[in-house]
Amino acid sequence: MNLSIDVTNNEGVSNVVLTGEVDAFTAPKLKDTLLPLTKEKGQVVEVDFQDVNYMDSTGLGVFISALKSTKEHASTMRLVHMQDRVYRLFKITGLTEIINIESTVQGGM
């Protein structure tokens, strides 16, 4: 019921690997880690969802903030290896239209 966040930086790319659950308890920590990464011009922020087994709207809120920040600072963000269950939330809220997401199952849902 916790979230661990591992960040590795190299050559303009930040890899953010998430493990655990994103909810109201863990979302603030995620936001505090993610947002500064998006504030560097040209930076590519890649968030790995492979081991995220739970997320709710508090997580969606974090990624909306991060997306706004990438627009402001000319950086980019993509979410990769997302599980079906988590992808579904992005899908039903229409966020798949505006956020770059690569789900584990292509064309799922």
């Binding site: 659950e21 109201a24 308890f25 709710d56 709207s57 809120g61 039903i92």
Partner: protein, 159 residues
């Protein structure tokens, strides 16, 4: 005649760290009832959204307090109540005052949470709000396919 059901009540401090604990509770109850894996995941998100809202509300009011969660376990459905106060439920009384949420209801907390209420609505079969004493969210999920959409409520995507 009153329909038979089991009632489970859980009380947690109005703090975000307990949301995961309640997710485990609903997961256990729903699994026991025979809900599918997908439905259990839906229930976990819906209850978390309601509790997140209650936590924010409690925090704004006093910075402390309790949240009461009630599970009505029926033959064909699970009813989940989330109250942003520590009082126990009188199920009959709550149901008398409850109704579909309306624009003028005092549920600003849910709305300003962004997608919270939207997700509850999308993931559950029926959602009702009682805002007479604090905010109580009553949401229902049916066990069988026949129950889905009984409220004429379709899951839609905002395209």
């Amino acid at each position: 005649m009153m329909e038979p059901f089991d009632f489970v009540e859980v009380k947690v401090p109005a703090k975000a760290e307990y949301i995961g604990v309640v997710r485990l509770s609903i997961s256990g109850i729903a699994n026991r009832m025979g809900f599918t894996y997908e439905d259990i995941e839906d229930l976990k998100v819906a209850i978390s959204e309601a509790i997140t809202n209650a936590v924010k509300h409690a925090y704004k009011e006093t910075g402390e307090g309790e949240i009461t969660i009630g599970f009505g376990v029926y033959q064909d459905r699970l009813e989940v109540m989330v109250a942003d106060h520590g009082g126990s439920f009188n199920l009959g009384e709550i149901k008398e005052d409850i109704g579909p949420y309306k624009q003028d209801d005092d549920i600003e907390e849910l709305r300003e949470g962004g997608f919270g209420l939207f997700l509850i609505d999308a993931l559950m079969d029926k959602v009702e709000i009682n805002s007479k004493y604090g905010v109580i969210v009553l949401m229902t999920k049916y066990l069988h396919e026949t129950g889905v959409g009984q409220n004429g409520d379709q899951i839609t995507t905002p395209q």
